[in-house]
């Protein structure tokens, strides 16, 4: 099976400080990988680089076999859904937040329907009434699920998740884990949540500027 994401001798810098050195990683389609490490070590920066937000200081990152460069980053990152610890809805009303990406030119070829929206909402254990609520009035867990729902509507298959369950109530946490565990998704996440970690196939340790496979959980 070919790699969906690959890192080849990747180094990352934060300012002048090297935070990751010579990292190699291959992520196959459908894999669930979690990165652990002390807070501030650069896990979020690594996820952002994997999502095509900035270039590594050395080495190469590949998405679906294509090397990320400044020229193709915008195109390649359309395949990736980024789930942050503080989910950003980007609109006032939940429905607007779900439809927001469909207003962008690059997504002109994508369409969604009310049925599809309702089905995704249900899959994430949310009630249809939430669609008309203001984003600022819904809980953090609901916001997280709305962000995931948006990724599902966009038919994204690769997820970068930065502490996706931190601070969520048990129900929300279960719903997030359930959806991210679906076999069709490739998930690279950073987390400290033991419950979440228990559902991941492979744990990597990010320590002292190195990325190393820690153990096989499953």
């Amino acid at each position: 099976m070919s790699s969906v994401i690959a890192l080849k001798k990747v180094s990352l810098k934060r300012g002048e400080q090297v935070i990751l050195q010579d990292a190699d990683l291959e992520v196959k389609a459908g894999s669930k990988i979690v990165i652990k490490g002390p807070s501030g070590c650069g896990k979020s920066s690594l996820l952002a680089a994997l999502a095509g937000c900035y270039s590594p200081s050395a080495g190469e990152i590949y998405i679906s076999g294509q090397k990320i460069t400044g020229q193709n980053a915008a195109k390649l990152r359309r395949d990736i859904a980024f789930i942050g610890q503080e989910p950003v809805t980007g609109a006032e009303i939940v429905r607007e937040a779900l439809l927001l990406p469909f207003s962008f030119k690059a997504n002109n070829h994508l369409k969604t329907t009310e049925e599809e929206i309702l089905s995704v909402i249900e899959r994430l254990h949310l009630k249809p009434e939430i669609l008309d609520k203001e984003c600022r009035h819904i809980s953090g867990g609901e916001k997280q699920r709305i962000v995931i729902a948006r990724a599902l509507l966009l038919k994204k298959k690769i997820f970068m998740a930065d502490e996706p369950t931190t601070g969520l109530d048990l129900d929300s946490s279960h719903a997030v884990i359930e959806i991210l565990s679906a076999p069709e998704f490739t998930v690279i996440s950073a987390s400290h949540d033991e419950h979440y970690l228990g559902h991941q196939e492979q744990v990597y340790m990010f320590e002292n500027r190195k990325l190393k496979a820690a153990n096989e959980v499953k």
């Binding site: 900035y54 020229q71 915008a74 927001l100």
Partner: protein, 264 residues
């Protein structure tokens, strides 16, 4: 109607008025006497020099001298805009100069050459004061719009990156910040226009009336200048953002940190 001139003696009488704020400051220990007197001294000197210079410009009434004066005003306004909006000169000077120049000169030329049509069209008595009024307001608008736009993206970086990751291009991802910046830039002028003549009599109109013009003429000029300021502010604020935006983001769509002036 003849304007009553202020003699040197009249000005001395006016400066005597300053004893009142000085006494208040001394009595309440406000600590503003030195700053106030220095500011008034600077103002007097600057205006005296401008008075002398304007008299010379008006007498010569040369197209090139007027052009040079307006260009100098534009350059000064541009430097001030960048300093106040905390943007790096090196990366933004040419783009903001172009944005302000287009927004400001197009409206100025339209007003002078198409609407009031003085003879000659470059008449310093019209070009210089009108340019000053339009440019002063453009400067204020540009500072607010640029500062709001770039600080908005910097402060809401996660939101901005989310838009990019959802497929937005840089223009699409920055659209909401552009709207906020332009509204903030133009709103004070809209509020001023809405209350003009009720809350306060505008300076230009008052000046014209004191200078002997009829209130009707003064009002017509005031309306014209307010419309010109409104158009010019919006055009130059929008162009400043659109032009700088081309160079403010890296190839990954991230806001370049070197767009901001280094904090001292």
């Amino acid at each position: 109607m003849e304007t009553l001139n202020l003699s040197f003696y009249d000005l001395v009488l006016l400066y005597l008025l300053l004893l009142i704020p000085c006494w208040i400051s001394y009595y309440l220990k406000l600590g503003i006497i030195k700053d106030s007197l220095l500011a008034i001294g600077r103002m007097t000197l600057q205006l005296l020099l401008v008075g002398i210079y304007l008299s010379l410009i008006f007498d010569l009434n040369s197209i090139w001298l007027n052009f040079a004066w307006v260009t100098a005003m534009l350059l000064t306004a541009n430097v001030t805009t960048l300093k106040r909006s905390n943007l790096a000169m090196k990366r933004t000077f040419i783009t903001t100069f172009a944005g302000t120049a287009i927004g400001f000169t197009s409206i100025l030329m339209y007003f002078v050459a198409v609407v009031i049509r003085p003879d000659p069209v470059y008449d310093a008595r019209y070009i210089i004061p009108i340019a000053g009024m339009i440019l002063g307001n453009c400067l204020r608008g540009n500072v607010i719009s640029l500062e709001r736009f770039y600080s908005g993206i910097r402060e809401h970086e996660k939101e901005y990156v989310t838009y990019l990751l959802l497929g937005a291009s840089v223009p699409e991802a920055t659209r909401s910040y552009l709207r906020i910046a332009l509204r903030a830039s133009i709103s004070p002028h809209i509020a001023t226009m809405a209350t003009l003549g009720i809350v306060a009599l505008p300076g230009m109109m008052t000046g014209q009336i004191l200078g002997g013009a009829s209130p009707t003429t003064a009002i017509k000029y005031q309306i014209a200048i307010m419309i010109c300021i409104f158009c010019s502010m919006l055009v130059s604020s929008a162009l400043n953002i659109l032009f700088t935006r081309k160079y403010a983001f890296d190839e990954y769509g991230m806001l370049r940190q070197d767009i901001f002036a280094k904090s001292k």
